[in-house]
Symmetry: none
Subunit: 217 residues, 4 copies
Amino acid sequence: MPQQTFFNLPDEKRQLILDLAIEEFAQHDYKNASISNLVARAGIAKGSFYQYFEDKRDLYLYLIQIAGEEKKRFLEQKSPPNPGMHLFDFLRWAMSEGARFEFSNPLLAQVAYRALFSDRPFGNDPFNQLQDMVMAYYLSLVQLGKSQGVIEGDLDDSLVVFLLSTIFNNFGKFVLESQKIAPTDLASGSVDYRSVNMDELAGQLIAILQRGLAPRN
Amino acid sequence: MPQQTFFNLPDEKRQLILDLAIEEFAQHDYKNASISNLVARAGIAKGSFYQYFEDKRDLYLYLIQIAGEEKKRFLEQKSPPNPGMHLFDFLRWAMSEGARFEFSNPLLAQVAYRALFSDRPFGNDPFNQLQDMVMAYYLSLVQLGKSQGVIEGDLDDSLVVFLLSTIFNNFGKFVLESQKIAPTDLASGSVDYRSVNMDELAGQLIAILQRGLAPRN
Amino acid sequence: MPQQTFFNLPDEKRQLILDLAIEEFAQHDYKNASISNLVARAGIAKGSFYQYFEDKRDLYLYLIQIAGEEKKRFLEQKSPPNPGMHLFDFLRWAMSEGARFEFSNPLLAQVAYRALFSDRPFGNDPFNQLQDMVMAYYLSLVQLGKSQGVIEGDLDDSLVVFLLSTIFNNFGKFVLESQKIAPTDLASGSVDYRSVNMDELAGQLIAILQRGLAPRN
Amino acid sequence: MPQQTFFNLPDEKRQLILDLAIEEFAQHDYKNASISNLVARAGIAKGSFYQYFEDKRDLYLYLIQIAGEEKKRFLEQKSPPNPGMHLFDFLRWAMSEGARFEFSNPLLAQVAYRALFSDRPFGNDPFNQLQDMVMAYYLSLVQLGKSQGVIEGDLDDSLVVFLLSTIFNNFGKFVLESQKIAPTDLASGSVDYRSVNMDELAGQLIAILQRGLAPRN
DNA sequence: GATGAATGAGTATTCATTCAT
DNA sequence: GATGAATGAATACTCATTCAT
């Protein structure tokens, strides 16, 4: 967690530092992300950085946390589906919107992706905590599905969680690749992600899952 | 490719170097993997390393190649399924055995995983080539499935490839996590992976996919 | 160009670093000059060097520049010859003083000599520029001599430039050798160069040139 | 001096090694000339090199010696001037032919030039010996000139030696530069040096020297 | 609270030389 | 006499972190 000094900064400066940090950690893995480079580009003193953050790790974990919060906020600000919604309708919505989040925050999404799938500079512990939260959420969805009678009750919960989470986590990258879009194009704004029809792809995928997970009578 | 010098080494020494290299590149990404550390642990001179390999990159690409070859050999030495096999029977077998490979070569699998999914120190080119081959293989399976009438013909090929490849690539990690096994435990041999019932989990997963992808009449 | 950091150093420390750097580059050509050796002798940290200079090249080019500036300052602080001076009187003065400069800054002169005549670590471009300036200056002298009627007009300009520049550039070394003085003796201060009668030698040499270049009636 | 083993080699192999060594030492100064590179290109074993030569230094000094011998042989095989020749006629001939030698053996000449003017990896001693010989030769010429009554007797011998030797040593490079010819062009044979009119330039230069050094009545 | 110079262990890579085969 | 693998000190350069101002 950043020091209080960081939060005392003018909004603009604080946001600049964060934006540049996200860019740095999106383009390099943890070890290669350079604090020197960051402070140079942000125009702040080396020493100041260490008054804002305990160390590099502190900043990094903060970015991960931000990524989670931003995604949550993104989804919440969209018209959330009605509560009684059919599970797979919700999943279809979440998959499309999740991909939209990745498309509109490509750098932040890249930081999160790295953290989830490959770059674990401090062992698994700090990430397992995050991941456990996410998994718990998927689990609640699976259980909802079972109670709605749209997921076969005999299936192993964690297996279904794996299936859903894996597909959801990688769907954004798949859309990207299937459209031959480089992540840098997104960040530079040279591609208008809204033109990509995510709903069509998400719909097909959800349909497959829905059939596959349906109760066997 | 390593120099001939490397292949002239006594088997034991050569294998020691490889094992330590695999460990190094499994625990750190390319940039952070340390040749200094490697040679220190292997007990060879710095200069000797550079008689065996052109440079760090040379070693790295060799490890990637080994990973591919080892996996291929692993699968081939298992009783391969009969040619006319039903697609999903084959997938069930491949998923189980793939996971078994990861369990018996956890560090090597980790090197390959990194290479495929995150660490691209030399741009995408050398890896895209590999990945394209893998994807082409998945595509052939999907087309086989369609011709066997077990996959709905209207589904988008690349979507199904994405679904299958993503699940196959992550299945091993899932089994690991679901058993609360750390990769280091595997490497150290303190866990007997054979006690894990991969077939059961693979069976459930394939069943889901089979239903989900089945033709809609 | 060094960083501002370098110029902020206490005069004494900055000068120490420069002196040792000049010594290093006087005794070794560019590739062999060792930054490690320099920082060890100067008692500064490796990292500090790289806060003062961008890299080795940066320091080197700075030394070359210093050499030029020092020579210019040296010549200017001597009573400069009156403008309407006879060309060969000027040359006599310049030859003596040029040698005196080499004698009072032997290491710096050696760095410059190397740069001009043999060690071209970055291709010829940055040096050709310098050399072209020097040659242009010699050319202006030759043309002056022709207009003063003291140099035969039919002689090839570039040939005379070659003759003058070669002799001027090597005169210092000749005086040194003729007195059996090692450059290190000069640097250590164990030899008093003022005792060497450069004017006598320069006078003889200029006389030869004057007669040789004189117009043929 | 090379070991006997070197001279026992088949002529062709021995010459190949020498040619490649000359190329190596022409393109790099002493420290940067790479034995590794040499043996690789010559197709001989590292160890063999150290059976032929004591060390890198041994080879280097041998090359210097060869340069001297080759130049001597080159000049001798040309129709040598008749003994009673006028000094300056001889010098004119020697200057042209000396430049021709540099043009026909550009790599060897480059090795020698480096040794004479900049790269003194072992201090001055081994070179002073060579240089003393050369200087003694120039001195004999000067004394001949005085006795022929074509050089002013009052001039300082060593000064005249300096004048002549400096000009002679640099004349080749001057011709090269004045023709805008790169040394590599010569080595590759892409330039026909015979088309360059050295005699004209040498003639002008000698004329200047002759007048400058002439006795003053 | 801000600064930015100083630190030094860390990196990959090179190369002349040795010596056992 | 030939081989070529082994050596290890050497190179330039980086970077997170500290601390005196």
